[in-house]
């Protein structure tokens, strides 16, 4: 794709092979420049001053909201709430919506492939208000088995919320969210559909209308943007009905000694001074991805994903957890080398400047189902090359040599 040159870190670390983009992506020059420019030329607090500088800062901040809205296909930019990251966005759904509208005995459906950030907030609600959690298992192709709801011995009318990941951060599987939304409608399950798009948004075109979801959560740092800023999309009526998680400045309309009334959305959820330069960077990340072309990126990544899978499949003793075909799948591949612990694999790869993630990937229930304690995970993005994957294969050969397997 020839975009690698836009990422200064690769110039600064020419020997590095970065295969951990599922944890966080590297940042292009354009994103770094947008943040620097904000700080050097436009920095002031937003929505406060009447002077020009403050207006400029506000325009950039709100401009980023607009870009983000168009990026996910939202009708209205006020439907985008800036949060710190995907985890915070999911917590906002659980605490701002769930805690207000769910009651004891209501069912929240999730899948066995959820990241802890889309699991633990629901566990918390179970403890605090007595909701029940129904965990959908996975099919042999590693997608979510949602049709099991037909047979499940649960009261359908009690299902109030379905919270699923669009792409698994361990298996790489892309789940058919639109199909699931359609299924819920046909079965007359009137549940709100929450989509964790942390892994999918960097790689796929997303349109909340086409997905048929009610909430969408993501992080900026996985989609070329800075860390510390992410978002939640929900339809305006929903946001208006929800409670804020935090309170303080900026999120109120009027404060008297007797009380305060909440500001309109999305400010109601954005207490205190926001991530100003973060928003500038996120806006630039959206521009970058749009300019590179979402279809083009997906096409290039599919090719790399297939090459990564082919390469790993060819190495004896390498066991892949997840689909071995590039279909409906992102370039996130979890694997182990039989007889060697994931940490030892990671340690030896690190010596060759190959960055991979090792461990449970914040998905312990999934790893338990896969019957492993930890795995190695290699994940690609638009700046990776086939050469990176060849270097990974060389690294694994070294692991096998040292461990005599």
């Amino acid at each position: 794709m020839n975009l690698r040159k836009d990422f200064p870190i690769f110039g600064n670390r020419p020997e590095m092979v970065y295969l951990d983009s599922a944890a966080t992506s590297q940042k292009p020059r354009q994103v770094i420049a947008a943040m620097t420019e904000f700080l050097e030329k436009h920095n002031a607090n937003v929505h406060r001053g009447i002077y020009d500088l403050s207006q400029e800062a506000t325009d950039i901040f709100e401009g980023a909201r607009g870009k983000m809205a168009r990026f996910v296909g939202a009708r209205d930019e006020r439907e985008i709430v800036f949060t710190g990251n995907a985890s915070e966005a999911l917590n906002l759904v659980a605490l701002g919506y769930g805690k207000k509208f769910l009651t004891s005995g209501d069912i929240v459906v999730i899948s066995a492939a959820e990241h802890h950030s889309n699991f633990v907030p629901w566990l918390r609600l179970r403890k605090e208000i007595g909701i029940r959690i129904f965990m959908l298992p996975l099919l042999p192709d590693f997608t979510i088995d949602y049709r099991i709801l037909d047979k499940a011995k649960i009261k359908k009318e009690k299902i109030k919320l379905v919270a699923l990941t669009q792409a698994s951060n361990v298996l790489g599987t892309v789940n058919p969210i639109a199909e699931i939304a359609d299924y819920l409608k046909r079965r007359k399950i009137k549940a709100k559909l929450v989509v964790d798009a942390a892994q999918s948004i960097p790689h796929m075109k997303i349109d909340v209308g086409k997905l048929g979801c009610d909430f969408l959560a993501w992080s900026g740092h996985k989609m070329l943007g800075p860390s510390g800023i992410g978002g939640l999309w929900a339809r305006r009526e929903l946001l208006e009905a929800m409670d804020p998680m935090l309170s303080g400045s900026h999120m109120i309309n009027e404060v008297t000694e007797e009380g305060a009334s909440w500001n309109r959305v999305p400010e109601k959820f954005e207490t205190g001074t926001g991530r100003l330069e973060g928003a500038a960077g996120l806006g630039a990340a959206v521009d970058y991805l749009q300019k590179a072309g979402r279809e083009k990126i997906a096409g290039y990544e599919k090719e790399l994903t297939e090459y990564l899978l082919e390469t790993l499949i060819k190495i004896p003793r390498v066991e892949i957890y997840g689909s071995k075909s590039g279909k409906n799948r992102l370039g996130v591949v979890a694997f182990n080398v039989a007889g060697v612990h994931a940490h030892d694999v990671g340690e030896i790869l690190n010596r060759k400047q190959i960055c991979v993630r090792t461990g449970h990937h914040c998905a312990m229930p999934l790893l338990a189902r896969l019957g492993v304690e930890s795995t190695v995970r290699a994940s690609i993005y638009l700046y990776n090359t086939k050469e990176d994957i060849d270097r990974l294969a060389e690294g694994i050969a070294e692991v096998k040599k040292i461990f005599r397997v």
């Binding site: 060697v340 612990h341 994931a342 940490h343 461990g359 449970h360 304690e373 040599k401 461990f403 005599r404």
Partner: protein, 120 residues
């Protein structure tokens, strides 16, 4: 091969662990987990006359964690409990004879810390 970390002593103890299992009638026992990576080591020992009469370990973990637990049980069997209580982490790491990064020190000391807890 002469790897600075995966030395023969480590690989040997990883591939052929000493004292793997659970001691019957143990009177000192403890399980610890390294939350960062999920490594888990269980140590069980039978203390007779203030000495470690028998000790065993079991668990899941990387080569460093497993080899360290294996070496630990080999080093402490038959030793007086007071002597083990006085042993510092540094002294134990020295016995392993490898250089470790801060992240891997945790792996190497998981069994050691578990044993210290068990005999407290």
């Amino acid at each position: 091969m002469n790897d600075p970390l995966y030395r023969e002593i480590i690989l040997e103890n990883f591939e052929h662990p000493q004292n793997y299992g659970v001691v019957k009638n143990a009177n000192a026992e403890k399980t610890s987990v390294n939350e960062l990576c999920g490594d888990k080591i269980h140590i069980s020992a039978r203390i007779v006359n203030k000495k470690i009469a028998e000790i065993a370990w079991e668990g899941e973990g990387c080569a460093i964690a497993r080899a360290a637990a294996s070496i630990l049980t080999g080093e402490t069997e038959g030793q007086p409990v007071v002597k083990i209580k006085k042993m510092t982490s540094e002294a134990f790491l020295k016995k392993m004879g490898i250089t470790l990064t801060p992240a891997r020190r945790k792996c190497a000391l998981l069994g050691f810390a578990t044993l210290q807890e068990a005999i407290k």
